[in-house]
């Protein structure tokens, strides 16, 4: 299994490229995390909340009509059934418990689709902590319903107007807030991104997805799947789903990125089209120009609309352990329509990208067993569906 080295590197990727101001907080976070990770009472509190508040374990559902349509055995890992409707809460719950351990008094987070913002606002309400969320002005428009949800949950939402006005800029803004208030504020980053130890911590809190899926698969099929599929924004649901399978060499790991309007136009396919570089505290695959200026990503799904991807996935791709496909806005929309009608499950636009690879030729063989992570549900995307479908 992959582990970051002492400085937080997975191969050449990762690290903690941040101003000195943040280093004490990152050290504190790492020390606290290493300690509580072993602590039975912390583990107990987390697993109780995961069971009783989030509703874990999430089912591994055999999608019979989809299976019949495509000729594969398709199992769906139903993270969409979690409280708040996505995998994001696995991470925010773990991190708020960490924040409490560190005695932090305030929580900040960035959000793209608003799912991470909602999941953060939710656990802050649960723990009675003040919560400030940064969100790009464009995403605030695309995901108006989630903005309202965060406010209802008691969070303040700050609109970010710099750059592309999306997730990238919200993340920059959240880091800047953290720089100012680092002594009493914990930053709950929303994906397996950012400076060490975040990619490791987020992955560990999301690992439960793959752990459960593996066990459920063995119970149902008596064997491991041929393929495990997940969509990739920053990479948290993907690394969470993949992690337990990394050492299972017969299982293909297939990550799906957003090809937006097409790989030769505007897209968010940082693993397919990016180069290694530093953004938001770690060295990752990035969409950038020759000089190193970060390019503006595009995806119809706000949660995939980010020009980078976490270090561990960058690494797994570089050693060819991870296969990557890119899916356009159009293909994702059409997959969403198919899955809704076939299974009565309306996936999030992000998740629809994962479903879209089922329609691609030559990726799978007839009869292959597939486990696909349904990272979230589509409620938040109704406006977009209504406009495009």
């Amino acid at each position: 299994m992959t582990k970051p080295d002492r400085n937080g590197f997975f191969g050449e990727f990762g690290g903690s490229f941040v101003p000195d101001t943040l280093m004490p907080a990152l050290h504190e976070l790492e020390v606290c995390y290493q300690k509580v990770k072993q602590d039975p009472s912390f583990k107990m509190e987390l697993s109780e909340l995961l069971a009783e508040y989030v509703g874990r374990p999430s089912p591994l559902f055999y999608a019979s009509r989809l299976s019949e349509k495509y000729g594969y055995s398709i199992y769906l890992k139903r993270e969409d059934l979690n409280h708040t409707g996505a995998h994001k809460i696995n991470n925010t719950l773990g991190q708020i418990l960490l924040a409490k351990q560190m005695g932090k008094k305030r929580i900040i987070a960035e959000t793209g689709a608003g799912q991470h913002g909602v999941a953060t606002a939710t656990v802050c309400a649960l723990m009675g902590m003040p919560c400030d969320i940064y969100m790009g002005a464009e995403d605030i428009q695309r995901q108006a319903l989630n903005v309202y949800r965060m406010k209802l949950l008691g969070a303040q939402v700050f609109s970010v107007n710099s750059g592309s006005k999306t997730l990238k800029d919200a993340t920059t803004e959240a880091i800047r807030d953290w720089m100012k208030n680092v002594e009493h504020t914990h930053y709950i980053i929303g994906s397996a991104l950012g400076p060490h130890p975040y990619p490791m911590i987020v992955r560990d809190f999301q690992r439960v997805i793959g752990k459960e899926a593996k066990k459920q698969m063995l119970e149902k099929e008596g064997r491991l799947p041929h393929h495990v599929i997940a969509c990739i924004g920053g990479g948290s649901n993907a690394i969470g789903m993949f992690y337990e399978f990394i050492d299972e060499k017969d299982v293909t790991l297939l990550g799906v990125e957003a090809a937006g309007e097409g790989l030769n136009k505007k897209h968010a396919a940082s693993l397919t089209k990016g180069r290694p570089g530093v953004l938001h505290g770690s060295l990752n695959n990035l969409l950038q120009n020759n000089d190193g200026q970060i390019e503006i990503a595009h995806s119809i799904s706000a949660g995939l609309d980010y020009p980078g991807v976490g270090p561990e996935l960058s690494y797994l791709k570089s050693i060819d352990r991870l296969k990557v496909q890119a899916v356009t806005d159009k293909e994702a929309l059409s997959a969403c329509s198919i899955v809704s009608k076939c299974e009565g499950i309306i996936p999030a636009l992000e998740t629809a990208h994962a479903f879209a690879v089922l329609s691609k030729k030559n990726l799978f063989k007839k009869g292959d067993i597939i486990a696909l992570c349904v990272s979230g549900r589509g409620d938040k995307d109704m406006e977009t569906f209504r406009e495009h479908l």
Binding site: F17, V18, P19, T21, R176, V278, L279, D291, Q293
Partner: protein, 264 residues
């Protein structure tokens, strides 16, 4: 004390140093040159050329906006351009140290070794890499030493004594002490333990220490000069440049700002 950078150590030997930050290409590369000259002619001892970056995590709204202005002009604002600008400034002011402040990604994409080599060739004296923590700096320190470029590290008031030692030992030229936690930009209060930190720094190595982030008033400069070797002014100058559209008026305003800051 610097082995290969005599210009930087000479400045600090003589007097307290005023260090001025300007963004490459805001509002144009040509005017960055003009404003650089104005700063030097009116009492700024060291020039910091800020490289515009799309996502500056250590900078406040003023400098971020300045970076965005520079990036939106469509002029070349790459490191290559910065090297050209430094060549030109050095021709006119051979003794004034010029350092580049940049997000590390621009250096990585240029190629680290080549970047420091080309920088040295144009007369650049040092680099400040605000998003390169000391834990990440080993390779950069090595390459910079090889090219005889000073790597000027930032150090925050929250820094632990063991990390402080590492940072000081890896630094050349001078050290950049951050006035308080947070990002660049004007502020009312500085951390209270700055002079204490400077004592800890000097106990490790005899290196000049300049204090930056939020310096905008003569009181600040006077205060900092009482315990540090230099003061760094960034957002304050950028605001002056942003406010005036006309070149001559901007030069006048910059001149006035520096004179005011240095009034003791």
């Amino acid at each position: 004390m610097s082995i290969y950078n005599q210009d930087i150590s000479n400045i600090f030997k003589k007097k307290k140093a005023l260090i001025g930050y300007i963004t490459l290409g805001d509002p144009s590369v040509e005017l960055t040159y003009e404003y650089g000259c104005t700063l030097i002619e009116n009492g700024v001892d060291i020039i910091e050329i800020g490289m515009p970056f799309s996502d500056p995590i250590a900078d406040g709204p003023v400098i971020q906006a300045s970076h965005q202005r520079a990036l939106s002009t469509n002029e070349d604002v790459s490191l290559r351009q910065a090297f050209k600008l430094i060549t030109k400034l050095k021709k006119r002011f051979p003794k004034t140290p010029i350092v580049i402040m940049t997000a590390i990604n621009l250096v990585i994409q240029y190629s680290v070794e080549k970047c420091f080599k080309d920088a040295k060739a144009c007369g650049c004296d040092g680099f400040i890499l605000p998003d390169c923590s000391i834990e990440m700096a080993t390779d950069y320190t090595k390459q910079a030493r090889k090219a005889q470029i000073s790597l000027i590290h930032l150090i925050s008031p929250l820094c632990s004594s063991s990390r402080l030692k590492k940072i000081v030992n890896a630094s050349e030229g001078f050290l950049y002490l951050i006035s308080s936690t947070g990002i660049t930009g004007e502020r009312d209060a500085f951390a209270t333990n700055l002079s204490h930190i400077i004592k800890s720094i000097k106990a490790v190595k005899d290196i000049p220490v300049a204090v930056g982030f939020g310096i905008s008033k003569p009181d600040h400069v006077r205060d900092i000069y009482s315990f540090a070797d230099g003061a760094i002014v960034g957002s304050h100058l950028i605001q002056v440049i942003a406010k005036h559209k006309d070149k001559n008026k901007t030069c006048e305003a910059l001149k006035k700002s520096i004179k005011t800051l240095l009034k003791t």
